[in-house]
Symmetry: C2
Subunit: 500 residues, 2 copies
Amino acid sequence: MTLEEAKEKLIELQQKLSAYEHATSLIYYDGVTAAPRGAAVNRAQTLEVLSGEMYLLATGPETVELLEFLDGRKAELSEREQRMVYLLLKDIRQMRKIPMDEYVAYQRLLSEADDVWHRAKEASDFELFRPVLEQIFETNIRFAGYCAPEKDPYDYWLNEYEEGVSKESLDKFFAALRERIVPLLRKVQAAPQLDNSVIKGHFPVDRQDILSHKLMEVIGLDPEHVGLSTTEHPFTISFGSHLDERITTHYYEEDFSYSMYSVIHEGGHAMYDTGSDDELARTVLDGGVSMGIHESQSRFFENFLGRSRAFCEYLFPVLEEIFPEQMAGHTAEELYRAVNRAEPSLIRTEADELTYCLHVCVRYELEKRVMAGELAVRDLPGEWNRLYKEYLGIDVPDDKRGVLQDSHWSGGSIGYFPSYALGSAYGAQFLRRMKETVDVDGCLRRGDFAPIAAWLRERIWKHGCTYRPADLFRMAAEEEFDPMVFADYLEEKYTELYGL
Amino acid sequence: MTLEEAKEKLIELQQKLSAYEHATSLIYYDGVTAAPRGAAVNRAQTLEVLSGEMYLLATGPETVELLEFLDGRKAELSEREQRMVYLLLKDIRQMRKIPMDEYVAYQRLLSEADDVWHRAKEASDFELFRPVLEQIFETNIRFAGYCAPEKDPYDYWLNEYEEGVSKESLDKFFAALRERIVPLLRKVQAAPQLDNSVIKGHFPVDRQDILSHKLMEVIGLDPEHVGLSTTEHPFTISFGSHLDERITTHYYEEDFSYSMYSVIHEGGHAMYDTGSDDELARTVLDGGVSMGIHESQSRFFENFLGRSRAFCEYLFPVLEEIFPEQMAGHTAEELYRAVNRAEPSLIRTEADELTYCLHVCVRYELEKRVMAGELAVRDLPGEWNRLYKEYLGIDVPDDKRGVLQDSHWSGGSIGYFPSYALGSAYGAQFLRRMKETVDVDGCLRRGDFAPIAAWLRERIWKHGCTYRPADLFRMAAEEEFDPMVFADYLEEKYTELYGL
């Protein structure tokens, strides 16, 4: 095999893996958008076959030989080719440690779990979900043992979502944030509450749908490559490459802001994915590099941009056009105050910027304890409710609005939640740096996201997975990670808003 | 390999093939329902990989060895196992005659063609579509040459859609029908036209959507296994097995009957598919056996049942509930007359029962001549328009409403159209036989499709592809095929309707 032949085969391999990823992602997406209920078992059977084939392709002797050959001639590869080989070998070494039948059974379990979770959430019945959730936790612990027997299982998974992160670093990170957020929240709760009547009322789905498309256009999503659907829980997904991206939202007729910020949040994910250099399409370097960086982009769009006073000034006349009756008598400033009203609440995805990290804390604590064998899955609802009372001071009325609210666990994503908080903290540093060269508020006031997107594309998006997340963060922020920047941002914003 | 092992492997092979079919069908479906426009190339790249893998799986030495082993011990197999081996070997022998690179390139071409056709239709620009359509015709002729060099290429493809059919038999079939239909149509045209104002007006999409779901329930589709979407051109598709079936429709706000009969037509296809015995799921015997039998079911639901006076009597009060203002002052009899109004028209899928076969004739004549090299693809629009004038007496104003109206050619389905006419003719014989034991009109008047479905399930649906279409037809109809039964049905119906 010549080096040139090997390089060609490297591209071909990634083309094939992308095809399987396209198929399996689309089957998942179909399951949560259009599929009839009773088709879940049929989907699971297909996913079992395809994930088995993908496993064979990704870990087969031909692939290993190719990658080891290229790894041996690393010096002759481009930076991107080196990273492709590194990431593929890392995956293979990991996958080869998991017996194929267990890997395939896990994929099947996840496919069924998604359906079971939907039913359990609808019925607010944790017991329905418990058996599969137990299997998911057990399997994640077992797989961590196969892949990194020297590591703590939860550390292993945390590191999978954000390279370099551990229980030790996160314990410190969350403690530091809590130390600043809890006293601030107490002051906010003592002050007169902000009025949010401007976002409440009746907002028909078809009008909200117009708003969604308008927002997608404003933030800069390319309609040729990004589609919109509705699902129970909003998410972003790509099919085979960043050239086929989908976001989803969920409409509530009594409050348009839920879907509005879902579209902006998922839109941030999609801007990041679709901002990859086109030459990365259908390679392992395509799209976002880690969950933390991904959430730094989505929460950047949602909060730092979307919930800013400047953007609310742009947004209000847009809303007046789409909801003329509902907006009558209101102002942009009222909108700004309404979408930043802080108060302890039940649902993470609807939480304000200030209390959001406390929601993440609950999940982090629970995952940590179940993964360590200190907490049984059957005791999750009780502990969930206890921690919501302790951290946020509220009573959880049912599991639908409690432990069953998120789709992550049913998807096997244990260790994912901390990235939401990390992402928020990363974003605060990006914003501070960006403001040195971009008139962010001026752009937002005009609804002109292009200069903001250009900054992010140049420093973050276009690289895809070329750099390690920590390196990428430092390159973009031009400094070390420091969660206090985020705490300062929150303090300044809420002190002004609540007149503290 | 023992016989038992081989039988297990036979099931496993079909499970795998079903998984690839699930993935590729879903990618197609996504392309015409939810996908953003610019994702077509990405989809084509994925389909190229998956169809290549499927080709290797279906024609690889291990598969051939297995099937030849089983074929050698035919006597020890069940009737269904024998048929599985026969169908798989037939496919393999055929696929092995097509070079893999050409097969894969063709799949890619079809995926791109679908997108090009959509654009061309929208712009009413045949020239945009011409290059890919030329490639499709060329490839179909070439593939026919590989698979059956002794056969005429069009005969080969006709036989693929309906075993046993040829240009010779179809020339006779269409001539016999034309001989009866053309004079009948002339008499109809000379009589006073039926009023169709009851189906015209303004019918909002969301109300029509309610009607669609009501119809799906009435005809007996299981909502756990059959979903509904909207597309440019209505169709039915299954994903991996009959347990995950989808139908699509297209809403026109000025006339609800288009979508109504699309749902009933596609619903007939879906009843047939989902009526397969469950043990056939994820095998090659699952679902409908041929296009002719398939269309006999869809057109049976659409016309023989859906456009009957008895069903209109059931339907009218349903419509009164959904469209109270629009139905005010109208009657069930008016509905019956409106949905059976016969007149030469431009669009096949909107054509009445009487003129429908003439639309099919145009396509049959054109395909026959292009496949024989007697007509160039670039001359299709002109010839299309000339034949519409000759057969139906009308002028085609543009290609959107002419040669670009159907999706079949862009999907590579050349030789499919005749099955629509054959299906209609089959259905007339099924109806006559069914009426001997089922009170069809009584059932329709009550909106009770169960006894009708039970008759069809028992004689046709449950068998899936176990029997050859001609055998299945004879088993169900208990007689030989005779298109005059259909001609008699039309004559009786339209003579009464138009008072001839």
